[in-house]
Amino acid sequence: MIIHEYQAKKIFKKFGIRVPEGLVAYTPNEAKISAEKINKNGPWIVKAQIQSDSRFGGRFSDKRAGNKGGIRLSKTIDDVYSNADDMLENMLITNQTGAKGRLVSRVYVEEYIKSCKKYYLGIAIDRVKASVMLFASTVFDVDKAYFINVLEENPEEIFKLNIGTNRKITTAQANELLNFMKSNASTEEIKDFTNRLLNVFYEYDASLLEINPIGIDKEGKIWVIDAKICFDPNALHKHKDIQVMADEAEIEEREFIASKYGFQYKELNSGIGIIVNGDGLAINTMNEAKYLGMDTACFLNLKGGVDRDKIAASLKLIMTNPKVDGIFINILGGFLRCNLIADGIITVANDLGLNIPLVVRFEGTNKDEATEILEKSGLALLIAEDTQNGLYMIKKAIEEDL
């Protein structure tokens, strides 16, 4: 789970980290009032609050917003108003949002911190080493693809420090970081700043924390200019205050419903809808479909333990997606028992009716029981032997259905 910049900054402030004064605004008028409250003379920064990197380089779908991005320097109160007016209720498109972009429902108005030297600072987890890693870079405010290129081609521009599961960096490590940054900040300042960030990281079970960028002013004070925190979904139950920050508008509706049931749902093109019980199986089924000339509209990964009602709800999601013209349920039961899926199919078929072709393939735990349930149901569905066979069947059924 990810939260908005202004929410992350609120957390930082609580942990004693220096963030510029800022207020959230939902209308241009609110933005104007906020700016006046923050600072009488400006300048200010108006920032679109969507959960995406590279908002600065983004563009809006509605032309009234001009060619400027989602983060704008505003010298006068009138600029604050008009920039907020441009952004609000407009779709901001970045390289992470897809072509449609994301609706900007609020902006963050913030005091502008003058003449800062900027850096990328990140805390992440290396899966293979099972360690917390600290990153710093002189390359900031760029998208991930560019960042990867820098990692590969100019590794000297990125500082990497393995801090294991320590909750604090040492003075020596702080000096290493400072040497890399060639900054006027003091060792104490950089150490204190980093340790407070680590405190946030551990306290909230974050999986990624990025400040892109931090700014160091002439006096050597460190500021959080932008902020992003991702949280470990498996630890969210411990953090009720973070859970309530989830922004439903940031997630596609069907994806959101699926996530409530603990499933993974993804929309792609139009074509078949695939229901599977594992990531690897999803990818393999989509690829095999491609070999047969079929596109995938969406896939739903049921993962492990499910019950009949959850299966029925997930089937409904796919059946009501207008881009789906046939469904292939491909289940390889280990932990998951096939008969539960069969029960779910019958529940939803009775509820919604079965109006598009459906092919089911079961293998593994309780397969025979499941097949029997479906055969006895008298539903107009087809039962396949394996993935390829199932895909052939759904292809043929769709062609006949059209």
Partner: protein, 287 residues
């Protein structure tokens, strides 16, 4: 010979009285797995599924000489159970549980640094030596013994591969599911080495996960082995990898590799044959 387990391996099950554990352990016992003990803190009975119950792993090991554990304990209390098993110096701990937090897994991995225990999982189907025994939740149809060793990061894709191989008469020596979670256990190096030294295994297959760099680690380990057996990696391209940027952002900045073509290069350099579909894998094995 087989690697990791056979029908003589003495198995204890942590959290054996839960509904899921009961269902799957009963199947495993029917299959041939020698389950000698169950561990349940605050047990209310002395036996479950005909197996004696103990309150601690230590006691179970002392009384039954169990050498491996299967963990079915729910995510919130799994860390304690896993660390208990590591402290009891078991050879292998297989964690079926999914949903364990990253912080808990980092702590567990720290413990493993000072231990000889191999941790498999979490969120894994487990380990199986076909027609002998399994630790985990495999389908009953995994029956065909043979000369292929499988290491996998994806449980369902493993089921699919085994199903397809069995159809053409190719059996397996041992199948190891490494687990699907963000952080999983250790022991890849050892598992690769064990497969390479196992006289029953002629070919090693890796079924790659679609994200992550664990496979790269395996490739480096394999590159350093002597008398290498044939190693085939099934790597399926993922059309949705980039759309899931946020979930793996950590991965990207830590290792910089998410695209399969970059993984392919590392694999090729290690002497691993890469295939991109199960059909191609079958063809490579029959060749």
């Amino acid at each position: 010979m087989s690697i990791l387990i056979d029908k003589k391996t003495k198995v204890l099950v942590q959290g054996i009285t839960g509904a899921q554990a009961s269902f799957h352990i009963q199947r495993a016992m029917k299959y041939g797995t020698k389950v000698v003990a169950g561990v349940v803190p605050n047990k209310r009975e002395d036996f479950h599924l005909g197996v004696p119950l103990f309150e601690t792993v230590k006691e179970a090991v002392e009384k039954t000489k169990a050498t491996v554990s299967v963990v079915f304990v729910p995510a919130k209390s799994a860390k304690k159970a896993i660390i208990e098993a590591i402290d009891a110096e078991l050879d292998i701990v297989v964690v079926i549980t999914s949903g364990i937090s990253i912080a808990d897994m980092m702590e567990i991995r720290q413990r493993l640094l000072k231990s000889k225990t191999i941790l498999i999982g979490p969120n894994t189907p487990g380990v199986i030596t076909p027609s002998e025994a399994y630790l985990g939740i495999f389908p009953d149809s995994f029956q065909k013994a043979g000369n292929i060793g499988i290491i996998s990061r994806s449980s369902t894709l493993t089921y699919e591969v085994v199903w397809e191989l069995n159809k053409i008469g190719i059996g397996q020596s041992t199948i190891v599911g490494l687990g699907d979670d963000f952080i999983v256990g250790t022991g890849y190096g050892e598992i690769i080495e064990k497969f390479n030294n196992d006289e029953k295994t002629d070919v090693i297959i890796l079924i790659g996960g679609i994200d992550g760099n664990y496979e790269l680690d395996l490739a480096y380990k394999y590159a350093g082995l002597d008398n290498k057996k044939k190693f085939i990696a099934l790597m399926v391209d993922d059309p949705t990898a980039l759309s899931r940027f946020d979930g793996i952002a950590s991965e990207i900045i830590c290792n910089g590799i998410i695209e399969t073509y970059k993984k392919r290069e590392v694999f090729k350099n290690a002497g691993i044959t890469i295939v991109d579909s199960i059909q191609a894998l079958k063809y490579e094995l029959l060749k």
